[in-house]
Structure formats: structure tokens, C-alpha cells
């Protein structure tokens, strides 16, 4: 059990001529709620992609729970305890909400070369799935097909699926994007409940949420870390103000 | 040795024909995101049109020219009538729909031209063998095929790389919506591209008609080879199609020519006799399998889709 759950050093990724990640360095302690902010196009989603294993870096390393995971595939990282939610929701749209979460449970409970028993009747899968749905407030929608749910419910489901894998590290990619005020408030509540229970790396644009919840904040601009520290320090940082917070005052966001 | 050179030239010839087909296929897939199984049918039409027009006019060249125009026109008509509704649909829909077109065209050809196939004769001059390097003789017409198809390949390269149409084609391949947003008539562009693909296919069909075949179902056989070319060369890449066509053409031809003897030297005569024809036709699939293991996206993958 290492203190530092995630250690990122010099992580670099180029797409053609564009540097999406420029020698990013980052530390996240166990139980920490760590936010990553930055203007659009700063490479935040690329960072999640690199951490989750979807994108292969051209340089740098990632250590998780003391082990080097830089070369591991997406599914192996998930099995090690890294879960992510997608910025553009990525769900099993022709299945029910319960089925969606049950699949995530199934991935982490034994193997799936079972060919005969009805998986939808397995209590081992159903119960944890229902619990995950309850924790995000979607119990009422358990048996509804995902393509019939609202956008806000999709976002909640994204979190439920990630939680159902019982992760050590939760990578959340703009979970509040496109949510109305009520739904946003609900999401913030949910995130607040997660604080301390799971280690979280949150990418978000909503500054209030970020500064209310985060223990530490990292600021990313053009793929580079320009500042990292506790919320108060970040607020006061001149470079951050110029590059980012100033923009935030004038831009309209939901 | 002479036999080897001759077979190599045959391989290049096959490769060039394959390139014409593969280039059309890969263009259509790259730009319109359409899987077109009926491409082989256009190849077949090219051959049948050429045979018919050559008969009518008494001249191979005139027949070929008319056939080219007819095939391109048929291709564009096909695009407007049957292909347009398929754009934007799943590839499975494309497969189903164009499969139906294959059945239709095979039957149509059988109705119009009968089941027996046709022949297209060349002036005997063309079939004479010339000495290309001391001691090596090769039929003029086969040389013509190689040279003409190389010229077409060069022309294609110039069009795609150096002209406005080509620029639109390349832009459309990487970002369809953008090209539409720029006010270009996408519909017309698509029809033209499809017509171009049809012309290439028809051209391949008519060029090989005098020496190979004009019969129903000829399109399917070569279409599979074209698919192998595209998998090896990389989808969407014309350069990849060119290189892969040559490789496939050479390996298939040389395999069929030399593997039986090679096998006979290694295995017992009986086993060799049984296995040889089967194995020699497998060579390009083995190649494809190897490429899939080493580089699944092909040798020259274009920008990913």
C-alpha cells in the first residue's frame, strides 16, 4: 500500500505537429481528490486517455500503486483498479441501466467463460449493480433502456459503471458537461460523497465545483503543467490567472 | 531464367490490373465510406461492352474507347439510382445492397449476352512476341497492358495530387463534412468519383479481355484479389494499393508457376501432385495472413477512419 497512488513523470504525446501532452508530471496520494483544469484544447482529455491506456505515450512513465503501468493495455489497467468515465458518454445504449452496470460488476467478479447460467439472474452481479445505481440515484431507472434515459441520467450512469468496478482510482472526464442546474447540483453531491472514499482525478470546467471539492489542483495549458497545488494557492497564482481564470470570467459556460 | 522473367512480367501485368481495381475501390471507400462489392460487376461490364463494341465496329481500339465511356456512364447511373441511398448507412447495409447488385448484374449479363461468355479478338499483330531483352520474348499486347496501366496509374497520381478535383478528393477522404461545408457540390463529386472508379474497373476489364476472359462471374474472382490487395496495402491508400498490387500480382503468378516444382522437389510426387495446385493458390492468402500478424493496418495505412 503506497502513499502515492499515482505518479506520472514526463508524460509526452504528440499528434502529428501538435503537442497534446508536454512532459506532464503529476502525483496523486491515496484518498486524494485531485482536479485538473485548463482551457479547452489544453490536453486534459488526452491526459485521461494516456492514464487509462487508450493512448500510448511517446515518452514518460506512469506508476500506479507502486508499479509501472506505462505499457499496460486499457483492460488490464481497469483490472488493476483504474476506472474512467467518458466525456462523451459511452454506454451500452441498447441495454438497460442495470445491465450496463452489471457488466462492469461482471468484469471484476470471476471470469466470464460461463456459457449456461442466465447472467441476469446472478445475485452476485445484480446486487452490487443495484447498489451502484442506488449510489448515483438511478434506482428508479434500473430497468430502462439506456437510449431512453436523459442526458443527465447518462452522466450518472457513467459514474455508476465506473464505481461498479470498485476502483482505486477514478478518472472523471467532465462529468458535469451539459447538465442543467438541478442535475449539476446532484452530481456535485455525488462527487462530494466520493471524496475520501475513492481516489479521484477530476477534469472539470466548473470552477466552483473544483475549488469546493478538490484537495489539490493541477493546471494544464497547451499540454503543459503550469501550476500545481492546493486550491487557494492556485487561485492566487499569477500565471494561472492570466492563462485561465481570466478567460473563465468572460466565457459563458453551463 | 527466361521463364522466370516471363512469369515476372505476367506478375506485373496482373498486379497492374489489380491496381486499377483496388485504386477504384479504395477511392470509393476512402471518400464515400462505401463498401462496394459490385465493383467487380463494373469490371465485367467493361469486358462485355468492349467485346460487343469491338464486334460492332470491327476495331479493338474503338471498341475499347466506347466500352470505357459506356462503363463510366453505367457506373454513374448506378451511383445515382442505387448507391446514393446507401451513403451514411452501416457497412452491413452496403454489403447487403451491393451483394444484391452483383446478383442483378450477373443475371442481367446472362439475359443480354447469354451464359456462354464472349471472346474479344485482337489483330494478330498484337499477339506476336517481341524480344524485349536478348533472348526473352514477350507478347506485344501484354507489354501494352503493362505500359498503358502504368500510364493510367501515373495519370491517376497526377489527378489526385496535382489537380483541383484531386484536392477535393483528398480533402473529402479526410473530412467529408468540411468539404460539404465549403460549398462544394458533394453529390456531384461523389458521382464523379464513382464514375472514375467505374472507369478504372471497366478499363481493367476490357484490357484483360483479349487474353484472359469475358464471362459471367469474372468480377467476383478478381474482386477478392483486390480485397487482399487493399488489406495488404492499407485501406484508403492509393500508394499502398500500388505496392500491394505488384506484390500480390507477382506472388500469385510466381507461386502458381514455381510452387508445384518446388513442392515436387521437397515432397513425394504423389503428395506434391495433390497439394501443389491447392497450395499455390494459397500463397497470397498466406501473405495476407502474415501482414495481418505483423502490421494489421496494412503496409501504408492512410489517415485512420
Amino acid at each position: 500500500m503506497t502513499e502515492r497512488l499515482l505518479e506520472v513523470r514526463g508524460l509526452t504525446k504528440r499528434f502529428g505537429g501538435v503537442i497534446a501532452a508536454d512532459a506532464i508530471g503529476l502525483d496523486i496520494a491515496r484518498g486524494e481528490f485531485h482536479a485538473v483544469i485548463g482551457p479547452n484544447g489544453a490536453g486534459k482529455t488526452t491526459l485521461i486517455g494516456l492514464l487509462a491506456g487508450e493512448i500510448a505515450p511517446q515518452g514518460g512513465s506512469i506508476r500506479f500503486d507502486g508499479n509501472d503501468i506505462t505499457g499496460l493495455s486499457v483492460d488490464r489497467r481497469s483490472r488493476r483498479g483504474i476506472a474512467r468515465s467518458f466525456q462523451i458518454t459511452s454506454l451500452f445504449s441498447d441495454f438497460t441501466a442495470l445491465d450496463n452496470v452489471a457488466l462492469a460488476v461482471q468484469a471484476h467478479r470471476g471470469h466470464s467463460f460461463r456459457f449456461w447460467q442466465d447472467a441476469r439472474r446472478e445475485a452476485q452481479l445484480r446486487e452490487p449493480a443495484l447498489a451502484a445505481l442506488a449510489s448515483v440515484g438511478l434506482t428508479a431507472r434500473a430497468d430502462m433502456r439506456v437510449d431512453r434515459l436523459s442526458h443527465g441520467e447518462h452522466r450518472q450512469l457513467e459514474i455508476a459503471i465506473a464505481l461498479a468496478t470498485r476502483p482505486q482510482l477514478l478518472l472523471l472526464d467532465e462529468p458535469m458537461a451539459g447538465l442543467g442546474p438541478e442535475e449539476s447540483a446532484r452530481m456535485v453531491e455525488m462527487l462530494r460523497k466520493l471524496k475520501g472514499a475513492v481516489t479521484v482525478l477530476l477534469i472539470e470546467h466548473d470552477m466552483e465545483t473544483v475549488f469546493a471539492l478538490a484537495d489539490y489542483v493541477t493546471v494544464l495549458v497547451y499540454g503543459r503543467v503550469i501550476a500545481s497545488g492546493d486550491p487557494a494557492a492556485i487561485r492566487a497564482d499569477r500565471a494561472v490567472q492570466e492563462a485561465y481564470l481570466g478567460e473563465q470570467e468572460t466565457s459563458a459556460h453551463g | 531464367m527466361l521463364y522466370l522473367i516471363e512469369q515476372c512480367l505476367n506478375g506485373v501485368q496482373l498486379g497492374m490490373l489489380l491496381f486499377l481495381l483496388a485504386a477504384g475501390l479504395t477511392l470509393i471507400f476512402g471518400i464515400m465510406d462505401l463498401v462496394n462489392l459490385a465493383h467487380g460487376s463494373l469490371y465485367m461490364l467493361g469486358a462485355y461492352f468492349a467485346a460487343t463494341f469491338a464486334d460492332l465496329t470491327g476495331s479493338f481500339v474503338l471498341g475499347a474507347l466506347l466500352a470505357l465511356i459506356a462503363t463510366a456512364a453505367a457506373g454513374m447511373a448506378l451511383e445515382v439510382i442505387a448507391i446514393r441511398p446507401l451513403y451514411g448507412r452501416s457497412h452491413l447495409d452496403h454489403v447487403l445492397g451491393t451483394f444484391g447488385l452483383i446478383l442483378f448484374f450477373n443475371e442481367l449479363v446472362r439475359l443480354i449476352w447469354g451464359p456462354a461468355g464472349m471472346t474479344l479478338s485482337l489483330p494478330s499483330e498484337m499477339l506476336r512476341a517481341v524480344q524485349i531483352i536478348p533472348g526473352v520474348y514477350y507478347p506485344i499486347y501484354r507489354l501494352v497492358i503493362i505500359l498503358v496501366t502504368l500510364a493510367v496509374a501515373a495519370l491517376l497520381y497526377i489527378v489526385v495530387m496535382r489537380t483541383r478535383l484531386g484536392m477535393l478528393i483528398r480533402a473529402g477522404a479526410s473530412n467529408r463534412e468540411m468539404v460539404g461545408a465549403l460549398g462544394i457540390n458533394i453529390k456531384l463529386l461523389y458521382t464523379l468519383v464513382f464514375g472514375l472508379g467505374a472507369a478504372l474497373a471497366g478499363f481493367a476489364g476490357l484490357m484483360q479481355a483479349p487474353i484472359l476472359t469475358v464471362q459471367i462471374g469474372m468480377g467476383e474472382n478478381i474482386l477478392i484479389l483486390a480485397f487482399v490487395v487493399i488489406v495488404i496495402g492499407g485501406i484508403g491508400s492509393i500508394r499502398g494499393a500500388f505496392v500491394a498490387s505488384l506484390i500480390v500480382g507477382l506472388i500469385d503468378t510466381l507461386g502458381r508457376a514455381f510452387l508445384p516444382d518446388l513442392l515436387r522437389a521437397v515432397l513425394s510426387t504423389d503428395a506434391a501432385l495433390t497439394l501443389a495446385p491447392a497450395l499455390s493458390s494459397m500463397s497470397i492468402y498466406m501473405l495476407m495472413a502474415a501482414v495481418l500478424v505483423i502490421r494489421p493496418e496494412g503496409l501504408f495505412p492512410a489517415a485512420s477512419r
Partner: protein
């Protein structure tokens, strides 16, 4: 019209009164009665035709497993019909006429071929996958053409149906028909258990959103490979049955248009439903048969019909009953 359908669905329990289920039941009943009809009319043609329908329906069921449920569009499935058939034929030719050897061999060799093809092609997607499976199937076709000892392009006439040590005489056409029917129903049942099991959930999840599957921790490749092998093995069994039925096997059964036929049957019946492939097979083959009696040029009708289906019909024939809301 839509309101009426909604009302009907709410009032009538979703059981066998459901139009879709009713239609399926009718088709199955018809299939069950065919031998009786053949006996009554003294005309064996119906029996022959429908035996073929049953066998190809079995092949379609196997293809539906990977295509409809798994999202793997294989354009080379007819290869397994050929491999299974040739297993029976070659073994017979070499003096082994026992069904206990031939049929398992057909299944095993098909499974092996599926394993190799799957290993090579399942890392690819979409168009690539379609082309590659097509190419490998055609390769088998060419190989079969080159096997002079076993008839080459002309095919191999199989002198007798396999013997099962006297337990069952499949030389009896009616018995053979019901055996095929039983195997068909059995395979549908097998698929139904498969797709609802943990394994099936993974397969369907991969079809639905493979990126998500990997993100939650599934090593998707191995599951899809196993599914691919199961489908190949099942189709190999169909191939063995076909060889028995016609007492003949030739490369033509593996020609790529045959793979296309199988795909059409699956699509017509509605992808990813249990009895869909059966209905699709029955429909397609009967239509083909009926058309060939009316015209010599059935392709002129079937071709454009397929195109129209591709353009207009979502969810296939079964989808018609679901109000076309299935979108696969």
C-alpha cells in the same frame, strides 16, 4: 396504426399471442409437418427441399451468433459448410464411413479453421474484417478446387450416408429430416443459453460498445475468438449434414456468394434474435425456389429486392413486428 399496436401490446400479454412469436410458432409448426405432407402427397420433393432449408437454417443460426449478437460481420461463413462437408466426404473416400468419426471430425476441423482465421482477423474491424473473412473463405474454395483426389471442381459424390452403428439409420429421409429439425431446435436453444450467460453478455457488450467493454476491464479479444470458434464449429456440423443430405460435396458450396446468401438469411430474419435466422432462411430459400419456377432469371428480382431491403428495412423481417424500432 401505431396507437393500435401500442394498445395491443399493452393489453395482450407478451407471450405466444404476440404476433412475432405467433408467426415463429406457425413457421415451426409448418416445418414439423412437412414429412407428413410429403408422405400424404407421395411427393418427396418437399422433403428434400425442406431438409435443405433446415440445414441452412442451422448454418444461419450459427452465423447469427457472431453477426447478430456479436457484431462480427463474417463474409466467409460458407467455408465451414464446405469444411464440414469435405470432412465427411474425405473420410468416406478414405474408408471411414462411421458418423461417429465423421461428424465430430467435421466439427473439430471447422473449429480449428475458425480458430486460425479468428486469431488472424479478429484484431481488425469493420470493412477489413469483412474482406479478410471473405478472402480466407475463398482461399478454402480454391484449395478444394485443387484437390483432384477428391473431385476438384467437379466435386465428390459420397456413396452412402454415414452409419451410426445401427443406432439410427439416416438413410431414412424422414428420420434424417427430424434429426436435422432436432439439431436445429437444439442449436437455437444452445444459442439462447449462450447469449444470456455471462459469456453472452460479454459478446453482446462487445457488439454494443467495445471501447466501453475494455474500459471496464474485459479482455475482449479472447471472448470474441471463442464465440467465433463456436459459430464455426456449429456451421461445420451443418456442412456435414448437407453432405449427408445431398450425398455430394463440391467447392461450390463455399463460393463466396453462398456466404452472402447466409448473411442475407440472417439479416432478413432480423439480426440478434433467436428464431430470426430460421425465419430468414425459410423465407429466403422458399422465395428463391418460388422465383426459379416463375423465371429463369431470378437474380433480376432477388438482386434489387436485396438492395431495397438494405435501403428500407431496418431490423429485418422480425423487425417488422417490432414496429421497426430495432436499429442494429
Amino acid at each position: 396504426m401505431k396507437a393500435a399496436r401500442e394498445f395491443y401490446r399493452k393489453v395482450v400479454p407478451a407471450s405466444w399471442l404476440n404476433p412475432r412469436a405467433g408467426f415463429t410458432a406457425a413457421v415451426l409448426a409448418m416445418l414439423a409437418l412437412v414429412p407428413l405432407y410429403a408422405a400424404a402427397t407421395g411427393d418427396p420433393f418437399a422433403l428434400t427441399l425442406f431438409t435443405r432449408v433446415l440445414i441452412l437454417a442451422l448454418a444461419a443460426v450459427s452465423l447469427n451468433l457472431i453477426m447478430g449478437y456479436g457484431g462480427m460481420v463474417s463474409f466467409g461463413h460458407a467455408a465451414y459448410l464446405g469444411i464440414g462437408g469435405y470432412a465427411v466426404g474425405i473420410l468416406w473416400k478414405e474408408g471411414f464411413a462411421s458418423g461417429f468419426l465423421q461428424w465430430p471430425a467435421a466439427i473439430a476441423i471447422s473449429a480449428l479453421f475458425a480458430l486460425v482465421v479468428g486469431l488472424l482477423s479478429l484484431r481488425t474491424r469493420g470493412v477489413y474484417f469483412i474482406m479478410i473473412t471473405l478472402a480466407f473463405a475463398q482461399m478454402v474454395y480454391y484449395v478444394a478446387q485443387g484437390l483432384d483426389r477428391y473431385g476438384g471442381d467437379d466435386g465428390l459424390t459420397i456413396g452412402q450416408r454415414s452409419s451410426f452403428a445401427g443406432i439410427v439409420d439416416i438413410g431414412n429421409n424422414t428420420l434424417f429430416y427430424y434429426l436435422c429439425f432436432a439439431l436445429l431446435l437444439g442449436s437455437v436453444y444452445l444459442v439462447s443459453r449462450l447469449v444470456n450467460s455471462r459469456f453472452g453478455m460479454v459478446i453482446q457488450g462487445c457488439r454494443s460498445n467495445e471501447r466501453r467493454m475494455r474500459a471496464i476491464g474485459f479482455a475482449t479479444f479472447r471472448y470474441r475468438l471463442v464465440c467465433f470458434v463456436i459459430a464455426g464449429a456449429l456451421c461445420g456440423l451443418a456442412g456435414a449434414l448437407l453432405a449427408e443430405h445431398t450425398n455430394f460435396i463440391s467447392p461450390a458450396i463455399m463460393y463466396w456468394t453462398r456466404s452472402g446468401d447466409l448473411m442475407v438469411m440472417v439479416i432478413l430474419g432480423g439480426l440478434g434474435s433467436l428464431f430470426g435466422p430460421v425465419i430468414g432462411a425459410v423465407t429466403y430459400l422458399l422465395l428463391e425456389e418460388a422465383l426459379s419456377r416463375v423465371t429463369e432469371y431470378s437474380g433480376l428480382v432477388i438482386g434489387p429486392a436485396l438492395l431495397l431491403v438494405a435501403i428500407y428495412l431496418r431490423g429485418g423481417i422480425e423487425g417488422l413486428f417490432a414496429g421497426g424500432r430495432h436499429d442494429r
